[in-house]
């Protein structure tokens, strides 16, 4: 049927139902935070995430919004956190580092794919829609 093997179709249906059904939906700010963590890799903690978002989006995120979003993402299982060593410039306080989990990557990927497919054929930068 349609040139696909039955097993491929079954696998696609299983993927859509099981995997995509489990992937949580993300808000705009949640996507920004996840992408910032991915960009920073091992050095992602509150201060660097805020700076990265400010540099990339030219918008300073509100500290309260950032920390509640990070907590929410952790509760959803999209990021995990671990404590680093205390440093003197922080008054001897430890950093809380963040890393994106597998479901977190899947959620970002799914959200970005949705954007890509919506953008396809729009030609926003040139032509009539510019």
């Amino acid at each position: 049927m349609f040139g696909y093997a039955p097993l491929d179709i079954l696998a696609s249906i299983a993927y859509i139902v099981v995997i995509m059904g489990r992937t949580p939906t993300l808000g705009e700010f949640e996507q920004i935070v996840l992408l910032a963590i991915l960009r920073l890799d091992d050095t992602a903690y509150g201060a660097t995430i805020r700076t990265e978002i400010a540099n990339c989006t030219r918008r300073e995120p509100a500290p309260g919004a950032l920390y509640t979003t990070l907590d929410r993402l952790e509760e959803k299982g999209l990021v995990r956190s671990y404590m680093g060593d205390p440093t003197p410039e922080r008054g001897g306080r430890a950093k809380r580092f963040f890393s994106v989990t597998k479901p977190g990557r899947a959620a970002v990927l799914q959200a970005q794919r949705a954007f890509q497919s919506l953008l396809k054929g729009l030609d926003l930068l040139e032509g009539t829609n510019a």
């Binding site: 500290p63 907590d71 306080r93």
Partner: protein, 263 residues
């Protein structure tokens, strides 16, 4: 820095210690570039983002509690005879109403504060729905039996599932604490002049058995009644908040402490 420690202490009242430490540390890093005023403004914004749901949740619980109490009194106690419990069952239905009251405060507070995805809030809502059906239509034997069977199935299901077992235990502890508070509130009601005089033990027992000492009293100022109701609702919300914290927020704290120990 003493002021940073004070800020950390404030934030730690509303989140875990490790989170408060990391938040204040992050803000302190930016103080050399942005200044102390920015630091305190940021602390205030973090404080607001951590706490804004609490007053909203209490207000919502208050509204739901009032609606439950008034509609129940209106339909069951006075006008609609079909909903009125027989005299022999009046004390039992008083407890059903009381449980419905505490559960309505519980689900309203928990869902407003922690969101609709909160499992404990949804569990409270489910149990409250059962209690509401029992309270309004339990005088019909078929409905009462169906409610009892549903409750039994619910208990069996809750006991067999690990997460639901936690919900069930949290629910039982919340309701038990609320009933203890209910007994205490009768004494407080007596002290606040709602009974005209302090109550004797027999009168308190009579009130708890649903024979309504508080309703047959000398008139009191409206502000006394409202402040009494506010105290009762604050106490109920406080109990739910503490139980939620004890049962459902310990995991993240444990993970944070564990990761601190590993690193």
């Amino acid at each position: 820095m003493l002021s940073a420690s004070f800020a950390e202490w404030i934030i730690a009242r509303f989140t875990t210690r490790t989170r408060a430490v990391s938040i204040i540390g992050d803000l302190l890093e930016a103080v050399p570039q942005k200044g102390k005023l920015w630091f305190w403004l940021s602390v205030a914004r973090v404080f607001v983002s951590l706490t804004w749901r609490r007053p909203l949740a209490v207000a919502f619980a208050f509204c739901v509690g009032i609606v439950w109490s008034r509609t129940y009194q209106f339909s069951v106690n006075s006008l609609i005879s079909a909903h009125r419990a027989p005299l022999a069952w009046a004390a039992l239905y008083h407890y059903v109403h009381l449980a419905g009251m505490y559960l309505s405060l519980g689900w309203a507070y928990t869902l407003a504060r922690f969101g609709f995805k909160d499992s404990f809030g949804r569990y409270l809502l489910a149990v409250w729905s059962l209690i509401a059906v029992l309270a309004y239509f339990g005088t019909q034997p078929l409905v009462a039996v169906a409610c009892c069977l549903s409750a039994a199935c619910g208990i069996v299901y809750s006991v067999t599932s690990r997460s639901r077992r936690k919900d069930l235990l949290a629910l039982l502890i919340s309701v038990a604490l609320n009933l203890c508070w209910g007994a205490l509130s009768v004494v407080i009601g007596g002290l606040m002049g709602m009974t005209g005089r302090p109550l004797s033990l027999r009168q308190i027992a009579s009130e708890l058995a649903g024979r309504g000492v508080l309703r047959v009293t000398a008139p009191v100022h409206a502000w006394v009644i409202w402040s009494y109701m506010l105290i009762c609702i604050f106490a109920a919300c406080f109990i739910y908040a503490r139980v939620h914290r004890k049962f459902f927020e310990n995991n993240s704290r444990d993970i944070a402490q564990l990761s601190a120990e590993i690193s």
